[in-house]
């Protein structure tokens, strides 16, 4: 059994990796090396890192277009992720998907999806297949609170409850669906209550303490794995950046952003690690190794080739 101090240090490294990776991506975007859309997870790291720490390798992950973090944690290399953003053939989708459409079969990452809410039934389908085959795998589906107003979400929730599927729905409630605050989208602010109408278990917590996130999600994963019962979790979080790189986020006040930053999961983990006797040197070493990894992946993406035109049709049919 790994020491809790080392576990937390590992989760801390994952969160720092996501943040540094995305800062590098934002820089590359501003240099024109990444085109189209780029949605950053910065600020939300505690959610994905904590939740995925509760999973096993055999479990399946489905997420939104804000998908870099989930892929990195599931084991897609920083090189393959950055190369995908750069549209290079060495990317995890051979450069044909881009930021919003990461896939990694080996790591059971069933993808990032560009249609809000449209992916929720797909996750339920994966859970169905797991139950049908008796694999014991759990499907975990991430989505924003914006998805909670989409019909496909309601349909997936209803089916998962009806069919008793081994799935954990994780609503990453970052308070804004693009520029629209939650109170202009939802009549009831507590998204987890959506579970009540379909008789599903629910939980609701903030993602500041990554270990708490892990432990709360673990309860739901256990329920799914052992009893084939789904759970709807509302994970309260906040993104520091705009919805995407093209969104200056002017619909929020600086005061609000500063307030939310006090709940930063990385900051919290640093405090917890220090309390467990981790030295500044050790933290600096972790940060240095992350920076080296990110620097390497940017260089790799830069130097990789673009896909050849022959790839346009290559993956259309088997």
């Amino acid at each position: 059994m790994q020491d809790e101090r080392d576990v937390l240090l590992g989760l801390y490294r994952q969160m720092v990796l996501i943040r540094r990776f995305e800062e590098a991506a934002a820089k590359a975007y501003s240099q024109g090396k990444i085109g189209g859309f780029l949605h950053l997870y910065i600020g939300q790291e505690g959610c994905a890192v904590g939740a995925l720490a509760a999973l096993e390798k055999r479990d399946y992950v489905v997420t939104t277009y804000r998908d870099h973090a989930q892929a990195l944690i599931r084991g897609t290399s920083a090189r393959a992720c950055m190369a995908e953003l750069f549209g290079k053939v060495t990317g995890c989708s051979k450069g044909l998907g881009g930021s919003m459409h990461f896939f990694d079969a080996d790591n059971h990452m069933l993808g990032g999806y560009g249609i809000v809410g449209g992916h929720v039934p797909i996750a339920a389908g994966a859970a169905f297949a797991s139950k049908y085959r008796g694999d014991g795998a759990v499907a975990v589906c991430f989505f924003g609170e914006g998805s909670a107003t989409i019909g496909a979400f309601s349909e997936a929730l209803g089916l998962a409850a009806l069919w008793k599927l081994p799935i954990v729905f994780i609503c990453e409630n970052n308070e804004y669906s693009m520029g629209t605050p939650l109170e202009r989208s939802l009549a009831v602010a507590d998204v987890s209550q959506k579970a009540v109408s379909v008789g599903m278990e629910r939980d609701r917590f903030r993602c500041t303490d990554v270990l708490e996130v892990r432990d709360r999600v673990a309860v739901a994963v256990k329920r799914a794995r052992e009893k084939n019962e789904p759970t709807l979790i509302e994970a309260l979080t906040y993104r520091y950046r705009g919805h995407s790189m093209s969104d200056p986020g002017k619909y929020r006040t600086q005061d609000e952003i500063d307030e939310r930053k006090k709940l930063d999961p990385i900051l919290h983990a640093e405090g917890a690690l220090r309390a467990k006797g981790v030295s500044d040197d050790e933290l600096a070493k972790v940060n240095a190794s992350v920076e080296a990894e990110v620097e390497d992946c940017v260089k790799f993406a830069d130097e990789s080739a673009e896909p050849d035109e022959s790839l346009i049709e290559a993956f259309n049919y088997a």
């Binding site: 549209g87 044909l96 249609i115 107003t149």
Partner: protein, 325 residues
């Protein structure tokens, strides 16, 4: 006259319509305070208030579904679907309800609305932010489908769409949202009639048909063809459906040779229908098989989008090929 881009011209059309007719309401994701993802509805909320310009949740089926109810009760809703690629969650509402109300109520009711949505590639949006789904809706009786190529037409066609008794899908080519500029009379009311195509470059040897952002590629290819001694006539459809077949047939009777250009995949794209119509109505005048230059029969790629799009470099050889056939 004021120089405007497409974004401003469409915004101006909405202002003109909303000032004149209190039945016109604008709804969609982030259309209010944010002004839409491409800022087309920017500032409307300030002039007309949140009762007439309102944000919706992410709920395309709900947006169109509620718009149907509004239309039946006498409003003229102008729902925005943030990207044409996001229209599919609302597909059932559009195909099953919007398109059929007049028919199945024996003319008693119409769910008259103008569904605005940005369309097409050219901004590296990848699979779900680049598609051109016009053919699905052309295939659905009861809908009209418009796609302007320039700011002047965009404003005039939108005003005409708002006054047309039938529901209109108004596709806005996002690649030229800010690139295309033209003189547009600000705040003035004018219409560009639906179902009237425009010959934008007269010629005698090859008819090139295009719309939206690809019109500029068709013109560029035609200018290059002229250097090689091939005289092309370029037609901007402006309204895709119902199509102005007369303008096309008149041109084909003169040239006998046709190239159709569109971004959407080739198979069952609107080009197929155009070629069929030309065969039916001008077969005796044809000197060469009508040719299509289109997107590929694949999902829309991220990195290779400039290979995917039917740009001038692919249109020119097609022109040369039909010219020498």
């Amino acid at each position: 006259m004021t120089q405007m881009n497409m974004v401003k011209a469409i915004n101006d059309a909405l202002r003109v319509a909303m000032r004149q007719d209190s039945r016109v309401v604008v709804l969609g994701e982030d259309v209010g305070k944010v002004g839409g993802v491409f800022r087309v509805t920017e500032g409307l909320i300030n002039e007309f208030g949140a009762e007439r310009v309102f944000d919706t949740p992410l709920s395309e089926g709900g947006i169109i579904g509620t718009a149907v109810g509004m239309a039946l009760y006498g409003l003229i809703p102008v729902p925005e679907i943030q990207f044409a690629d996001f229209i599919f969650p609302a597909f059932d509402q559009i195909v099953s309800e919007v398109a059929k109300f007049r028919y199945r109520s024996g003319g008693e009711y119409t769910s008259k609305m103008v569904i605005r949505t940005p369309v097409g590639g050219g901004i590296r949006g990848g699979h779900y932010h680049s598609q051109s789904p016009e053919a699905y809706f052309i295939h659905t009786p009861g809908l009209k489908v418009v796609c302007p190529s320039n700011p002047y037409d965009a404003k005039g066609l939108l005003l005409a769409s708002l006054r047309d008794p039938d529901p209109v899908l108004f596709f806005e080519p996002k690649r030229i949202y800010r690139a295309a500029r033209a003189d547009v009379p600000e705040g003035e009311d004018y219409t560009v009639p639906l179902s009237v195509a425009k010959v934008v470059r007269p010629g005698n040897q090859v008819t090139v048909i295009a719309w939206g952002a690809m019109l500029y590629e068709a013109i560029e290819a035609s200018n290059k063809a002229a250097e090689a001694g091939i005289d092309c006539e370029v037609i901007d459809l402006r309204t895709i459906w119902p199509v102005d077949i007369d303008t096309i047939v008149n041109s084909v009777k003169k040239t006998g040779r046709v190239v159709v250009v569109h971004e959407a995949p080739k198979s069952c794209g609107f080009g197929a229908e155009l070629v069929s119509l030309i065969n039916e109505k001008a077969f005796d005048y044809l000197e060469a098989p009508p040719t299509r230059v289109t997107g590929w029969d694949t999902p829309f790629p991220y990195t290779l989008e400039m290979d995917y799009l039917p740009l001038a470099g692919r249109i020119l050889p097609a022109i040369q090929s039909v010219a020498k056939y």
